[in-house]
């Protein structure tokens, strides 16, 4: 069932991350997927699958979404990134246009 304002991001291993739609919209790619006038399956179900993004990386990305919304609302903190994640994180971020 599809609740309003919620999307589900599915990692390569099948983990599902349920986050606010507003948070997911931080990523330009996801925003396009969810709001495009075309008929993406994602638009219907509110689910997006990323077969090439691993779970740890996707989790970090979701954390980034929430941090970014917090930053925009004025609370400017630091977003720490573990060095070992950085390379993959960078490539995932590049893909997600975020």
């Amino acid at each position: 069932m599809k609740k309003e304002g919620i999307v589900k991001l599915i990692s390569a291993e099948g983990f599902e991350f349920v986050i606010d739609k507003k948070a997911a919209m931080v990523s330009q790619t996801i925003r396009n997927m969810l709001t495009s006038p075309g008929s993406f399956a994602e638009t219907e179900l509110g689910e997006v699958t990323f077969p090439e993004i691993s779970t740890t990386i996707l989790e970090k990305i979701c954390k980034y979404f929430y941090w970014s919304m917090q930053y925009a609302s004025g609370k400017e903190t630091e977003f720490h990134i573990e060095p070992e994640l950085t390379l993959e994180l960078m490539m995932a971020a590049n893909y997600l246009h975020t």
Partner: protein
Amino acid sequence: MVVLRSRAVAPAVASPPPPKKREGDEAGIEPITPARAREPPAAAAAAQQSPQSSAPGPGPSPDDAGPAGPRRRSLRLASAGEPAGGTAPSGARKRKGRPIGGEEIRVLDLDGGDGRGDAPRAKPRREGNVDGDEVKDLNVELDLMEFPEGDGGGGFLSLRSGKSSDERGLEVRDALVGAGGDAVVNISDGEADDERERAGGGRNGAEVKLFGVDLRGIVNGSVKDKERNSAEDKGKGIMIDSVGTSLVLKSDCDGSGEVRRRGKYSAAEKGKAKLVEDDNFLLSNGSDVGLNQENVVLDGSTRKTAEVRILIEAPSRRTRVKLNESSGLDMREKFKEIARINASRFAHFNPEEVEQESNSAPEVAGNAEVASAEANEDPEDWPGPFSTAMKIIRDRSSKLSAQQTRFPLEKSKSPVIEWVPRRDQGRDLIEPVPPSLQELSMKVLADNVDAITSLEGVPDALRHRLCQLLCDSRRISAHFFDLLIQGCPTELCIRDCSWLTEEQFDKSFRECDTSGLTVLQLNQCGRCLGDYIVSSSLAKSANSLTVLSTVSITGACRLTDVGLRTLVSAAPSIRSINLNQCSLLTSASVETLANRLGSVLKELYIDDCQSIDAMLTLPALKKFEHLEVLSVAGIPSVCDDFIRKFIFVRGHHMKELVLGDCPNLTDASFKVIAEACPGLLSLDIVNLIKLSDAAIGHLANGCRGIRKLILRRNTFSDEAIAAFLETSGEQLEELSLNNVKKVGHNTAISLARRAKGLQILDLSWCRNLTDEAMGLIVDSCSSLKELKVFGCSQITNTFLDGHANPNVHIIGSRLSPILEHINVPETAGLLRYS
């Protein structure tokens, strides 16, 4: 000089405007010989004024007995206009400047009064040439004085008020000397046009008038009375001489005097009467006259009168003033005499003079053939979009000036810009933008670069960005270089290879599989790239770089023609080659490139290759069949002939030309370019000081699709640039008017109306643009992303906080880390236009 000044100043003491030493100078000023340019006027002035003494009273120049009216007026004007004291001496000093000085003085005054702050620009420069240092000093001062405009001659006024002329003069001088930067720059540019226009717009009518008077007086250089009369009658001679004279005249100007002066002028000068009424007119007259004067003198006495007449006519075209030349004979004699005397002064060729002459061409469009030093016709004379636009703009200005007849105008020559800043505090409510995750991770990577074991799978764009970050922070190392070369790299872009040693380079490239390399960028590789290295590493075999299409090895200062030949023999499909600053390459390299790559090469960059003789490369250059981009900046042998011959053959495909810093180019080249390069999209003409408005006119008529225009330190007038924008502004995406001093309100209005697609705009050092002008531009150019305002000390928070464009990024208004704003072309590998 001092003497001159003081005289002018003294009268001014009584009145707020700067002392008008002009008058005194005028009386005593006679054609100044180069050696003693100042002396005669000084002497003359001395009689009337004592440099440091406050003898010259405000109103009554002692010498103004006869032509008291005009003289007095001129003095007032002179003083009103500018820091007469300061300028007077300088005027004398400058040879060219002398007449210019007069002009400049006028201009200065005008500028002072002119809220637009035009003043700082042109005047000082012109004078600078002749007398070098002195002029420069003067100019500097002038600039300084001009800057604080605001009200009519604000800067000047502040200097002038409450001080004796001497002090003022000295202060001005000191201020000027103290000035640096802009002022000096201004000096070098010396745009007569600018001055004239300024004069036209002059703050105070008085000032403007002074010019007319001063000029005349100066020209005559004879007895005061005669001077005055002749000055008024002719109004032309003044230019030639004496800054001092002009100064004197100016200093006497003041508000009250204006009215009186006007009356006198109209009575005394049939021709000038209108000038009096119209500040603009007078100013433009003066400036035109001045410029023309210079030209006249340069060309010889016989032309002088003719030109003088023309000068008068020219401004009248714009100013609708009909100058009376009934006293032509008289003037002729005087001019001849003056020309004779001044001829030696102009014996030295000064490129700036030539520039000014050509600058004057557009001003006197109607008499371009006569007045212009160039053989080219003025594009304004041709039917075409540029001339139409110029007319529109001139009408705009003259309508405005017509409406403001009696008041000292701050922007009399420029249209008024109405713009009000937003009232809300929107600035503070803008949300902070969080940094992107990509950037954050990139930074962490850059910090831990040594821990990276492999860059496999990382897209090229990310590699380049990472490499750029590392180069900028000097953390790049051989380890990272090896990571980049691992495997079969497709692109290798290193902005700065100065850290790379030859051994490292050799070792890395020997083992590297370059068969897939399409883009190779090794900028600043002088240290590591020598001839033998190329053959042993990069060009290991004849086919080692088969798919290489873009190569950039700027700064390869040890690479000779032989090394380049080796490189090119291994890479047969190069489509873009960047050899900037490879100082050992000669025209033989271009020959090699043409022979091997003639059918494929599209972009050729050979900036600053000092050993390349442009004319010798011509036969080779003509062999490139598809050349789209040619960059020859900084090669001194690039001349009109070269451009003409090359463009006739290959101009049809040209999309980008970079001709900056080629000092020998003149308007003739641009005529050719406009006719033969219809598809030109990008043009860079920085530091080409010999160009005049005619060049911009040609471009506006011919190259209608220009998207990127880079100017810097050019001497085009405000109207010309505005006219160009009117005709071609729609497609413009990037425009730089850095240090184009004359830019003013006309340009601002045209930008606002036309430049809807403009994304990057550089208005650094354009000091005539007020907050209102900037606000209008920013609010109207909806696509604007970046606005550079370095050196625009005249803009305030009214604009910075009050504009309504949420996307624009304003750079340069406050201290900020410079590297933040450096633009790096993102797609280093792709061809620009294919």
